[in-house]
């Protein structure tokens, strides 16, 4: 696919040695939380092997829109640039992806005319492409996505984990909390809580948390709950996780669209985790019915 673009560029060079191929980019911008969003066009000179981050860097450096106006640089999040930190999630050509691993040459094969960049739609926009993904982390808290080993004394070495179990768990442990699975999920809808004038920060935080806790957990948190329930030490609080997974906004909200697994940049077997959580929830609910 990349070869096709290179020949394309070579052809352009042959046509006229002065002409530089430019990429047309359209960015959905928003100046502050709760403000109207608006489209802005940018022309970016083509270079081979660019990713969306380098496109955004060029837009920031130029700070001039395609129609020649000086504009504030577009804001975005990124860090690792190797699809590990999970901070650069955005919509590129309408689909959720990691900007750092979204390669321009491939995108131009999909659509040579334009690259469209938008912020995620399931999280409140902070500015331009920067979104507030607090809810994603709140979901991980809700399901206690950790191994509880905090204590005041040395608990000794942990139990052995068989290679088979390790193999099963490893893919789930590669989640980068990017939120692609949530963005693409038709059952995960945006919760944006705006701070009232008469509200203290604490009151606002509490209200926002309560709103998050009614919403769908999302595929990532369900998968993490399964990861830590399968861990011998983590499994010690398996019941607490299942309680969270079957409470309001739990696994029952999943509609089995299976978009999550299709868009996960880490190819985590999310639907397997969801089905396993469904099975665990079934057994847990039956057990609770008879143990009451």
């Amino acid at each position: 696919m990349i070869r096709a673009v290179e020949t394309d560029v070579a052809a352009t060079d042959a046509d006229s040695s002065v002409a530089v191929k430019t990429i047309r980019v359209r960015v959905l911008r928003q100046d502050a939380p709760g403000r109207e969003s608006y489209w802005e066009r940018h022309d970016v000179p083509y270079e081979p092997n660019m990713n969306i981050i380098s496109v955004l860097q060029k837009i920031a450096a130029k700070a001039t829109s395609a129609d020649g106006r000086a504009v504030p640089p577009v804001a975005w999040d990124c860090s690792c640039l190797e699809e590990v930190c999970g901070s650069c999630t955005m919509l590129v050509n309408g689909r959720t992806r990691m900007a750092c691993s979204a390669l321009v040459d491939k995108l131009l094969v999909e659509n040579a005319d334009e690259i469209v960049i938008e912020p995620m739609t399931k999280f409140p926009v902070v500015r331009d492409l920067v979104v507030d993904r607090r809810r994603l982390f709140r979901s991980l808290e809700r399901v206690k996505a950790w191994v509880p080993v905090d204590g005041s004394y040395d608990q000794g070495p942990g139990p052995r984990i068989s290679p088979k179990e390790q193999e099963d768990a490893y893919p789930l442990s590669t989640c980068i909390s990017c939120g692609c699975c949530l963005e693409a999920c038709p059952q995960f809808t945006k919760i944006e809580v705006i701070r009232r004038d008469d509200e203290s920060q604490e009151e606002f935080d509490a209200r926002r948390k309560a709103a998050f806790d009614k919403g769908f957990l999302g595929a990532h948190a369900i998968s993490q709950a399964m990861l830590f329930n399968a861990h011998p030490t983590g499994g010690m609080i398996a019941d607490e996780r299942l309680k969270a997974v079957t409470s309001q906004g739990g696994i029952q909200m999943c509609g089995n669209a299976q978009n999550c697994v299709a868009v996960c940049p880490k190819q985590i077997p999310l639907t397997r985790s969801i089905a396993r959580a469904g099975r665990a929830a079934t057994l847990w609910a039956i057990k609770r019915l008879f143990d009451r």
Binding site: R95, P186, T189, M253, G255, N259, R272, A275, R276, G278
Partner: protein
């Protein structure tokens, strides 16, 4: 958590929130038992018309031999579960945000179709019950007479627009059931691995195609029925009734 009688609507809301998991699981189960099971029985019964009016009439007679308690059976095992399934279903549809445009994956298309066919099937069933079931009588419908099963059903359906709407309604219900079978298995954790889901998918395809054949077969049987001939056969099977009908004339 004691309930505060002063906060009526809020406690209803909190009731649904606290029991969301249970309600959604009952929703899922009700789609298979009894609603789905009823769909299967109904479509297979209809298909028996392909073997002639006698065959269909004998099955209808069997069902109506329950007569004194038939309304109770209908409400307890068909109408109420169906209304429950539909109301939770509409709440689920209202809470979702279909996005096949951006993510045109097979699973997502099925997710969207599941919702669309659910709504079509619900509208179709309302109309169908009005048109044929005795409940529809007070509203100008209720054309089906159990003692003249084939002729009354055939008369009601033998017009092109009605037949087309029936085909759409039946196929929607069948898709909704077959696809729902597959998602039910994931929801309850019956098939968990991708390979098991693929195998289960074949099962749901086979069930869906078989039921679609039965449903469309029944419809075709009704459309090709000779109504006069069917009436003759019915009057032989239910002579008393025929006399009553003659008296009425």
């Amino acid at each position: 958590m004691s309930t505060n009688p002063a906060s009526g609507p809020e406690s209803i809301d909190s009731f649904f929130s606290r029991h969301q998991f249970l309600i959604y699981r009952l929703f899922s189960l009700s789609g298979l038992i009894p609603v789905g099971a009823f769909l299967v029985v109904h479509l297979l019964t209809n298909a028996s018309v392909l073997f002639g009016p006698e065959s269909f009439q004998s099955r209808v007679d069997l069902i109506h031999s329950l007569q004194p308690i038939l309304p109770f059976v209908e409400w307890a095992f068909i109408f109420l579960p169906m209304l429950f399934h539909a109301s939770v279903g509409f709440a689920i549809i209202a809470g979702g945000l279909p996005n096949v445009g951006s993510y045109p994956y097979v699973g997502n298309v099925r997710y969207t179709l599941q919702r669309a066919t659910g709504m079509i099937a619900f509208a179709f069933i309302l109309w169908h019950v009005w048109q044929l079931h005795s409940l529809g009588k007070s509203f100008g419908g209720g054309a089906f007479k159990p003692e003249q099963a084939t002729s009354t059903a055939a008369t009601a359906i033998q017009s092109a627009p009605v037949a087309i709407l029936y085909a759409i309604g039946v196929l929607s219900a069948v898709f909704h059931f077959a696809n729902g079978l597959w998602t039910l298995g994931i929801t309850w954790g019956i098939w968990t691995s991708p390979a098991a889901m693929r195998r289960a998918n074949w099962v749901s395809i086979v069930v869906g195609v078989a039921l679609a054949a039965a449903g469309l077969g029944g419809l075709a049987g009704m459309l090709t029925t000779d109504v006069d001939e069917a009436e003759r056969i019915e009057s032989k099977l239910h002579p008393k009734n025929d006399a009553a009908a003659q008296d009425g004339r």
